[in-house]
């Protein structure tokens, strides 16, 4: 054995030792609780030993209250993602093709919500769109009737989510748009392509992956959202976040709370897998470069 191999092995052990603690934390605080949650919700220990049982899942899917909460979560997610993309994609495209002082201001404004904690936004929402809020005051000063406030309706969390997720969606889409070269756009324009042709044939095909990444990011966030649905949404049906908290804390039913958690994992599995895969790929690409 040469000296360098021995040194290498020594370094190898040091490396393993250095990463041991954080890796152990991931194993005990992420992997283990998930495995336990899946096992404990599926295995029921009776008088004659442990047996497989889907009872807690059957309860969830036959319980009208639980299903109502799942449905409102899916509805909120679908509506929020659609509105968010309808706003974020045009802004990102604008920022990709326009430079100058106005564009810089637009970028700063679109990124700004990133630096506003969601709890402050929830408060601001109530003061602006809640009963007797700023919008009512402004409408009132023109002699117009008050709005039907979205506060404590399913639209409350939707507005909060769109506001809160705008920056990261724009940022992810802009990263994707950097793959669209000026040459490609100019070449298309030279052969007479209109704005919409450029959008549908040049831009969208190159950023649909980024759109999916942004969507996955938002979906994962909405299925675990707590602050907005708790403060801005209706009490019933409630989204999965507050529902899980209540099942765990007030109803004190950890088995059902875990069942709900595992169900959100399963629903989000595709998005989670896709999101993680694209981060890993990006990293590999940057390392290769």
């Amino acid at each position: 054995m040469s000296i360098s191999v021995a040194q290498d092995r020594g370094r190898g052990q040091t490396g393993l030792l250095l990463v041991l603690l954080p890796v152990a934390l991931v194993a005990t605080l992420i992997i283990w609780p998930i495995v336990r949650a899946v096992m404990d919700t599926l295995i029921v220990t009776g008088p004659d030993g442990a047996s497989l049982s889907f009872a807690s899942y059957r309860f969830f899917f036959t319980d009208a209250h639980s299903m109502g909460n799942l449905r409102i979560t899916i509805w909120t997610t679908a509506v929020s993602v659609s509105i968010l993309m309808a706003i974020a994609i045009p802004i990102a495209i604008y920022l990709r093709f326009v430079t100058g002082r106005t564009a810089a201001v637009v970028q700063a404004l679109a990124i700004f919500p990133l630096f506003v904690p969601s709890i402050i936004l929830a408060y601001a929402f109530i003061r602006v769109l809640g009963p007797n809020g700023m919008v009512d005051l402004i409408l009132g000063s023109f002699g117009l009737p008050r709005i039907r406030s979205p506060y404590l309706t399913p639209w409350g969390p939707v507005i909060g989510f769109v506001w809160d997720n705008l920056p990261l969606s724009v940022v992810i889409l802009m990263a994707g748009l950097s793959n669209v070269t000026n040459n490609a756009v100019e070449a298309a324009r030279d052969v007479g392509a209109g704005k919409f042709a450029i959008l549908f044939h040049i831009i969208l095909p190159r950023i649909w992956l980024s759109i999916l990444v942004a969507t996955s990011f938002v979906v994962l966030g909405l299925f675990s959202a707590f602050t907005f649905p708790y403060l801005l949404g209706p009490a019933a049906p409630e989204m999965m976040g507050p529902f899980m908290l209540r099942t765990f804390g007030d109803v004190m039913d950890p088995v059902q709370a875990r069942t709900q958690a595992v169900i959100t994992f399963l629903i989000c599995a595709v998005f989670g897998w896709f999101y993680v895969r694209s981060i890993a790929k990006n990293r590999a690409r940057r390392e290769a470069a």
């Binding site: 954080p22 970028q107 919500p113 408060y123 709370a257 990006n282």
Partner: protein, 272 residues
């Protein structure tokens, strides 16, 4: 959407600036108004009376100070532990070869792959049997989990980006490995490490779900106090004053992010 005509006014941009200003900055200004309004009755467009009365009232409340102290303690403890265990690991991931390196590195992504609240629930049920629910350390551990990915990924990228030639040059003139690390490697990676530490600190300060789930009812952080102010609708202004106070750490983060992480870098880090 044309780049080649600088003298044409950017109408789309101006429309975006106006709309985004109203929708994004507007609500924050309303909060600012409320914080300094001593009296603001419907339907007046602006407060009838301005002043700092509610600042005194907020700052005189013992629960505000307790929550602030708890939040700061948690943020310091979590950031410190996170840095102590993650930074050496980041160096190892960037520079050393060992068994399972790539697999371990990617394992930190598992935190991002699941809806976080469900994850917290599964951890909380285990903490329940360990007696960690309602304790400071229970909250600290659950918040530590949130910090792992950024605290490892950002510094790892920084250690990888360091120019090895400088280190070799230092070694050629006789510097030992520790000297090289302190004088050459660390200073180059420092901006990213500082950014990761600030992200962790501010992220922990505002962390709400884990603190609520594990901490309630004994451990009350600032965001949780804020939620109770909003829900109980005590005095509207208290929430406004607290919002302005709470925004300060966020503002520090804003400055740090502007310096160290461009929007593009942030987007790539998020998988764009």
């Amino acid at each position: 959407m044309r780049t080649s005509e600088p003298f044409r006014p950017d109408w789309i941009g101006l429309a975006l600036v106006v709309t985004l200003s109203i929708v994004i900055i507007g609500p924050m200004l309303v909060v600012g108004l409320w914080a300094f309004a001593e009296q603001w009755r419907y339907p007046s467009l602006l407060p009838q009376q301005w002043g700092l009365r509610f600042w005194h009232q907020t700052l005189a409340r013992p629960d505000v100070w307790t929550a602030l102290r708890t939040s700061l303690q948690l943020s310091f403890v979590v950031t410190l532990i996170s840095a102590a265990i993650c930074l050496p690991a980041a160096y190892a991931f960037a520079r050393m070869k060992f068994w399972g390196r790539d697999m371990f590195f990617l394992s930190f992504l598992s935190i991002q792959a699941f809806p976080r609240f469900g994850l917290l629930i599964t951890i909380a049920t285990i903490f329940l049997s360990l007696g960690l629910v309602g304790t400071f350390w229970g909250v600290a551990i659950i918040q530590l989990v949130n910090t792992l990915m950024f605290m490892i990924w950002i510094p790892t990228a920084a250690f990888q980006a360091i120019d090895r030639k400088l280190e070799e040059a230092a070694r050629d003139v006789g510097a030992g490995p520790i000297r090289v690390f302190w004088s050459v490697t660390l200073p180059q990676a420092l901006p990213a490490i500082v950014a990761a530490i600030m992200l962790t600190f501010v992220g922990t300060f505002y962390e709400t779900e884990g603190a609520w789930l594990i901490g309630a009812p004994h451990v009350r952080t600032m965001p949780i106090l804020m939620i109770s102010f909003i829900n109980n609708q005590l005095v509207i202004q208290l929430g406004a004053v607290l919002s302005v106070l709470l925004w300060v750490p966020s503002f520090i983060f804003l400055l740090a992010a502007r310096r160290y992480l461009g929007p593009q870098g942030l987007g790539r880090g998020l998988g764009g």
